[in-house]
């Protein structure tokens, strides 16, 4: 409802007395003029402007920064999904020859990149070395460990659904006692990332509310300090749209400046993290490198900054301009 009202008053701004030419161009010139002059007004009080923009910037930088970090974690974990593998524990009494032929058969399957055979003896040696239970094993009469075929899927087949399918197939093989997917932890991690994403969204919503309040309050103070001007312009025939315009553009500028500041802040923080992260990933022999803000995130950041600035000032203007009438 409010929207249509704004539209109507907007058209009233256009000249009706004389002025056959250049109505539209005068209208846009005026918009441009208000856009520039509201920036000029902010420029004349640089510290106050910077403080408001900084509050908005920090509030936007927090969810934006967390979002980028989560994106990086996700990037890292999709890299690990490729290393997902499947362990086939074979029954104790399967002869060596049958195992070799089974391994050969599996290698020909679609979606299988590699099959590694760990014999019972190798498994025992490995276990003895890694577990520290060597002496306990010595007291056993026979090797309790089964032979294992470790199956690594191709990159295309490494997706959870296809892995489940493959798991079902190998489980039906006669010599296989138990087949296990070694990617539970990857799933848990992606679950944690999902929780993190939801958290960022909620935090973002909360901070968006804070930005609305900050912009709204700043605009409210501006309106009150320009009360006399508003009364005079109303008296000489200004429409509500005309009076609203400079405040809306002020909100627009606050939002845009805040978003640009947030962009800078996140870029600086990522820059500071990049060197130690690269160091760490080098130590892990990983080629992972910290990703920055992608275009989409920057667009969303700028867009939401501008939208929040406009909305905050629109709310303040709607609430406070009505109250100011000449008397």
């Amino acid at each position: 409802m409010k929207r249509t009202r704004v539209k109507k008053t907007d058209t009233e701004d256009r000249p009706r007395l004389g002025q056959p030419r250049g109505k539209v161009s005068a209208y846009f010139t005026h918009h441009l003029w208000v856009l520039v002059s509201s920036l000029g007004a902010l420029w004349r009080t640089p510290w106050a402007t910077l403080m408001t923009a900084a509050v908005i910037g920090i509030a936007l930088a927090l969810p934006a920064g967390l979002h980028v970090l989560l994106q990086n974690v996700q990037q890292l974990s999709t890299g690990w999904e490729g290393t997902a593998q499947m362990s086939l524990f074979l029954k104790q009494d399967v002869p060596e020859k049958r195992i070799q032929s089974l391994a050969g058969e599996l290698r020909r399957w679609d979606g299988v990149a590699e099959v590694r055979y760990i014999s019972r003896e190798q498994a025992l040696a490995e276990f003895r070395e890694l577990s520290g239970f060597g002496e306990a094993l010595d007291s056993l009469d026979e090797n309790p460990l089964p032979a294992v075929l470790v199956l690594r899927p191709t990159a295309e087949a490494a997706k959870p659904a296809q892995m489940e399918l493959l798991l079902g197939r190998v489980q039906k093989l006669e010599p296989v006692d138990l087949a296990q997917l070694d990617m539970e932890w990857v799933r848990r991690l992606s679950g944690i990332i999902e929780v993190g994403k939801r958290g960022v969204l909620l935090l973002g919503g909360l901070l968006a509310l804070a930005i609305l309040l900050v912009v709204g309050n700043t605009i409210r103070l501006t309106i009150l300090s320009r009360r006399q001007e508003i009364v005079v312009t109303k008296l000489i025939g200004a429409t509500n749209a005309f009076i609203r315009r400079p405040f809306l553009y002020t909100g627009f500028w606050y939002g845009l400046m805040g978003a640009v500041l947030a962009w800078l802040l996140v870029a600086i923080l990522l820059g500071l993290l990049r060197a130690p992260v690269n160091q760490l990933s080098f130590l892990y022999n990983s080629e992972f490198s910290l990703g920055g803000l992608d275009l989409e995130t920057v667009m969303v950041l700028l867009g939401s900054g501008v939208a929040l600035g406009l909305l905050g000032s629109w709310l303040a203007v709607g609430k406070h301009l009505q109250a100011i009438e000449p008397s």
């Binding site: 002025q19 006399q228 000489i236 025939g237």
Partner: protein, 239 residues
Amino acid sequence: MRGRLNVQRPMIKFDNVNKRYAGGHEALSGVSFHLAPGEMAFLTGHSGAGKSSLLKLIACIERASRGNVIIDGQNLTRLKNRHIPALRRKIGVVFQSHNLLYDRTVFDNVALPLIIAGYHQNEVGRRVRAALDKVGLLGKERLMPVTLSGGEQQRVGIARAVVNRPPLLLADEPTGNLDPELSREIMGLFEQFNQVGVTVLVATHDHDLIAQLDHRLLILKQGRLERDGQTAELQAQKQ
């Protein structure tokens, strides 16, 4: 501007108008009169007689409690809020307190009504200079209003009121703070605008000034229109 051509239709018409404020104070009661296009009149009376209320009803700052206020054919009783700006653009208002914007130049103050109405930049410059020329302030367009004297500030206010050539000019105690000589100058300006067809209504309690000029005079007393006639006639009646 149609009003000027249509002699039948009054520029201002009050039809049995009452104005009662929220507190119960009745500022105007049963006021009826009309002002033809191109007419000039003074509105006078003691303070509290209802002069300001009457002007506020014309500019639609207040609404009548009863009766009809019709401006240039438009009945303000039924005027929707969103049509008020268009009405006010037809009315130039001069205030006792000037009501200038002190953070911008004389030029920008006078240009404001044109910018509100959406005039093109070249047109704005031309009209502002014409209006400032008319009130004798052409050389001062780049000055800030605070650097001007009271009389000059009032003339800036007048230039702003007439810059978009409204058919109706209202003035509320325009000479309230000025000495007699400046007051006569200001009145002279109003008469000039009247001579080119603008309807002028001036509220003032400056009886000396009124006595010097022969125009229609509306006298309000406790919210009622007590007298209505030419200044000379009314003065003759008094004596």
